[in-house]
Amino acid sequence: MDTIMEVKDLNLWYGDHHALHDINVDIPKNQITALIGPSGCGKSTFLKTLNRMNDLVENVKITGNIIYNNENIYAPKVDVTWLRKRIGMVFQKPNPFPMSIYDNIAYGPRTHGITSKVKLDTIVEKSLKDAAIWDEVKDRLNTSALGMSGGQQQRLCIARALAVEPDILLMDESTSALDPISTGKIEELAVELKKKYTVVMVTHNMQQAVRISDYCAFFLLGDLVEFSKTEEMFSMPKDRRTEDYITGRFG
């Protein structure tokens, strides 16, 4: 297993609330890692530490290291904009910008200084193809993204994240607002994406974790209780608390 990120002794506080306790885990490269656990267990907080989205929260304190690309992403010299370009994020609800499909995708690359129309065209097509939505939108790239269905909007958001060529894609319950067909498309997409990218996803849908993730991390009350191959976790969990959660005995 190749590792893309090493999380070492990570602790996080929201004010007095100690939300993550001594998290140590290696995120496997080109794999899908699912983060599971009951509400309030720290899984979304943990996901957000991976691209420093928690920096935006008031009174947050973080200790420990997250090593990516041979350096601690919390080191003072790290350019957070660069970091979030390398580690993209897709949220629970699709949040397309109120502009055309084309401009949604071109927004990131333009921000990073790309102005050539030819280059932008290539990026837009490639990103939409990678997000498995090109065939559905190629004839209406200049229409508003807000006119798309929820499932299409979510794939557009994935395409937008891919447009800046990230290494890692973080997905925070990215299918929870979608119908089963759109959910299925995003799941298939995630499996396809892991060939080029690393995916880390928070999910409340246990069957989704079983279906598509390679590794699974179970969080409870701010602790990382168990991290193992998904197949092992869902057939023979090591920790009793994991067993009780995944079999629906609490949560």
Binding site: Q207, V210, F234, S235, M236, E243, T247, G248
Partner: protein, 215 residues
């Protein structure tokens, strides 16, 4: 929060134990018919076949419904999947005991009970099945291991009887039909032992999650 699921698993367990009871009863009555040469008793076992098959179907239905409704994982998945496997072995045990009863009912064996003594083999096989059912009921790894080891005892008794039958057949070719029937009974008992071993292996799987291949 999962009281319905727990209730369904409880029902599955009760049905499995009932199936185990049916198997043990069938073997016991078969042995009694064999030892006493009671053709009537052997005939009476005829209706056990449909009962065993029905119970097997009913357990399979419970398992398939649980897989569909509850999408089980971990211990629950092991319980349900191992039940699905075990019930097949249980049914085979019961059916093979019924096959022995059918041979007894045909009458050839009755006039030759002095030729072979099935007492020890049948008792050991019956004991094995009882142990396998108890290992399932108590989720007892040690007992399951004991069943698996016990197979050697039954295999040896089967081979001894087989050799004895071959010897006798060479000396007395007049009653070949009877000897062949006896050999089949011998083999059925041995197969019942094998199915008990399978059950024990699935009991172990339901506890450890590891599938053991028994040679």
């Amino acid at each position: 929060m999962r009281s319905m699921f727990d209730q369904q698993l409880k029902t599955l367990n009760e049905e499995m134990l009932y199936m185990g009871g049916l198997c043990e009863d069938t073997i016991q009555q078969t042995i009694e018919a064999l030892m006493s040469g009671d053709v009537k008793k052997a005939h009476a076992l005829n209706n056990m076949m449909s009962q065993l098959t029905q119970q097997e179907r009913s357990i399979e239905n419970i398992c398939l419904k649980l897989l569909m409704q509850q999408q089980p994982v971990a211990r629950d998945l092991r319980t349900i999947s191992s039940s699905l496997k075990m019930v097949t072995d249980m049914e085979r045990i019961g059916i093979q005991a019924c096959e022995i009863a059918e041979i007894i009912a045909a009458g050839n064996v009755v006039r030759a009970t002095d030729k072979v003594d099935f007492q020890e083999l049948s008792n050991e096989v019956s004991h094995m099945v009882q142990m396998a059912m108890m290992a399932y009921d108590k989720k007892d790894m040690n007992l399951a291991d004991e069943v698996i080891k016990y197979d050697d005892v039954v295999d040896k008794l089967f081979c001894d009887i087989r050799e004895d039958l071959i010897k006798q057949l060479k000396d007395d070719t007049n009653d070949a039909e009877c000897f062949i029937d006896m050999l089949m009974i011998d083999k059925y008992f041995e197969r019942i032992g094998d199915h008990a071993v399978n059950i024990a292996s699935w009991v172990k799987f339901s506890i450890t999650g590891e599938i053991q291949i028994v040679e």
